[in-house]
């Protein structure tokens, strides 16, 4: 009988061919998937070529150009071309060209490429998103990704786990994004440094997958190595019919040792906004109403999924964006985009004077498609608000849920959907 292990320890042990692992242990693991994007892949590809002539498995290397595509400029076009040429040369099956492309961490769960029990590294820090499906999935650099693509292996230090138990019912209008901002505000941007986070409790159990993905997505913003959510009926309902490969559910054992167990009453969580310049600098939205904004961005790997679009559209329906605000909506994948059309959300956005874009990471990282001038402020459903993140070093980013970003776009300042004037009925 091995010692009781956490979900994170079990997935790592299984991929290291070991019966058990302990926190702090350095192990070499077999990877299920290795991914990179148009920013990180060129360096990873160079690494692959320094080691070998062929990737370890052309079906398990995932390349998603999403940061600067459709190509922002000539240099970005060259980067994207390096990726495309490599894909053709190596016969890589999971490549998503512009037109099929989506923001990687929205796209890969949606397409059933990533699944429970997988061990995944990605040269993108938000690779931790797939923890919501029960995968141990973590961000790494281009060299790790390149070595992973060449060998199918990576080294890991087995992390301790912090378990979050979020029990009770979230108030209406409080979303997964508010939960994770609340947690980051509580523990800080290095509160989970070198550790895995596991999210459990009745508030998680009743949460739809799109919001769970937002929670796991931002584990890295607390320094976390992974943001795991145990597989349940919601996970199975999401994965069944879309998972490409059989998946395995791992659960933390009774008696498993956690670095810390943090209990949170769901009723204590309110709509939350993170002020510049750290995701941990959180305040209730209700205390942020004096912040005027120039731009709102609704999208990204954190909040560009269908539920996010629906929540934003519910606020924007019948309203128009404040004349001093630019509101940019970016459905994160082609499927989300198409569904927005089918459900009439696109009409709502366009009638509200939003600019709607094809999928891209663009503004989230200050790449393009919504860069801020000196001194400008944006509210964004993205994940980071560091100095200069969305443009000029003197610009500011405030992080929130889609409903709050949409309400703020209409108000011209940060605020809640309930702050808005009621919409006049169609008859009037």
């Amino acid at each position: 009988m091995t010692r009781p292990m956490t979900m994170a320890e079990k997935i790592l042990a299984a991929h290291a061919g070991l019966d058990e692992v302990v926190p702090g242990q350095l192990i070499e693991c077999d990877l299920d998937l290795v991914l990179a994007n148009d920013v990180t892949a060129p360096i990873a590809i160079k690494t692959v070529r320094e080691i070998t002539d062929a990737v370890f498995d052309a079906d398990r290397v995932i390349l998603v150009p999403d940061h600067y595509v459709p190509n922002k400029d000539i240099k970005s076009a060259e980067q994207a071309k390096i990726v495309r040429d490599f894909v053709r040369e190596q016969g890589i099956s999971h490549y998503y060209e512009v037109g099929c492309m989506g923001v990687e961490h929205a796209l890969l769960p949606e397409q059933g490429v990533v699944g429970a029990g997988d061990l995944i590294i990605g040269a993108d820090s938000h690779t931790c998103t797939y923890g919501a499906l029960g995968a141990f999935s973590t961000g790494a650099g281009s060299t790790d990704a390149g070595v992973g693509m060449a060998t199918g292996k990576a080294w890991f230090k087995v992390p301790e786990t912090i378990k979050f138990v979020i029990d009770g019912e979230l108030a209406p209008g409080v979303t997964g994004k508010d939960v994770i901002l609340h947690i980051i505000g509580m523990i800080g941007v290095d509160g989970a440094l070198y550790k895995a986070m596991e999210f459990t409790g009745s508030a998680i159990a009743t949460m739809p997958m799109d919001e769970r993905l937002s929670i796991s997505n931002m584990a890295i913003e607390a320094g976390g190595k992974a943001g795991l959510i145990p597989v349940d009926d919601v996970t199975r309902a999401y994965m069944d019919g879309r998972a490409e490969r059989p998946y395995t559910a791992y659960y933390s054992d009774e008696g498993a040792e956690f670095a810390q167990v943090i209990a949170i009453d769901a009723a204590d969580i309110v709509p939350t906004v993170a002020f510049p310049h750290l995701p941990s600098n959180t305040r209730p939205v209700a205390e942020a109403r004096d912040v005027r904004i120039d731009q709102a961005v609704i999208g990204s790997c954190t909040n560009g999924r269908l539920d996010d679009m629906r929540q934003a559209a519910a606020v924007l329906k019948g309203r128009t964006v404040h004349p001093d605000v630019r509101c940019i909506v970016i459905p994160a994948t082609q499927q989300v985009y198409q569904q927005c059309i089918a459900e009439g959300l696109m009409d709502i956005f366009i009638n509200a004077h939003c600019a709607v874009s094809t999928p891209t990471c663009g503004p989230c990282l200050g790449g393009y498609m919504g860069i801020l001038a000196a001194g400008e402020r944006a509210i964004a459903t993205t994940n980071r608000n560091f100095v200069g993140r969305m443009g000029d070093p003197t610009s500011e980013v405030y992080l929130s849920s889609p409903a709050v970003a949409a309400a703020s776009a209409v108000l011209g300042h940060i605020g809640l959907p309930e702050d808005l004037e009621p919409v006049a009925s169609a008859a009037e």
Binding site: L26, P42, G139, G141, T143, G146, L193, R384
Partner: protein, 164 residues
């Protein structure tokens, strides 16, 4: 490995967006990245930094994105070693994998001031502030990581392993 240089002292949570802003990520050329290293935090860093200089910072250095452009930019700017109270985990991996020397030593960080001349014996983990004469011992790396560091990074380690 021995290093000696002038210290550029920064605070906590120095994120990869200020180390190398994303607006420059349309290239991976080290020299070009170095020209913009830390510019959103310290506009004078690039003009002040000399080959062999040392960055000293508080907790969680390198937090944020996974961009390896961050350690690449720091190294190409001429910095030999970064000493911090702690490193964000992806930056920690990236530094080891790409051969940028890093050391965790909270005591040294607290004692070292901007502009001090510091010498480092990376193998013994000894950090000496030549300006004040104080010495400190950093956390040693586990043997597995020393193997990567001594090989010169993750790629040389694998090249050696695969006989390439």
């Amino acid at each position: 490995m021995q290093f000696k240089g002038t210290v550029h002292r920064y605070g906590r949570d120095i994120d990869t967006d200020v180390i190398i802003p994303a607006r420059y990520l349309n290239t991976s050329d080290p020299a070009e990245l170095a020209r913009h290293c830390l510019e959103d935090l310290d506009t004078e860093f690039v003009s002040n930094v000399q080959a062999g200089d040392i960055i000293v910072a508080d907790e969680n250095f390198g937090c944020g994105s996974s961009r390896e452009h961050a350690p690449i930019a720091i190294k190409a700017a001429g910095v030999d070693v970064v000493i911090a109270k702690s490193f964000a985990r992806i930056f920690y991996r990236n530094a080891i994998n790409t051969g940028l020397a890093i050391m965790e030593c909270p005591e040294a960080v607290d004692a070292i001031s901007n502009g001090d001349v510091v010498s480092v014996d990376a193998d013994a983990g000894i950090i000496t502030d030549e300006t004040t004469g104080e010495s400190f011992t950093a956390q040693p790396f586990p043997p597995f990581l020393m193997e990567i560091i001594n090989a010169g990074g993750l790629v040389p380690r694998w090249q050696k392993k695969l006989g390439k």
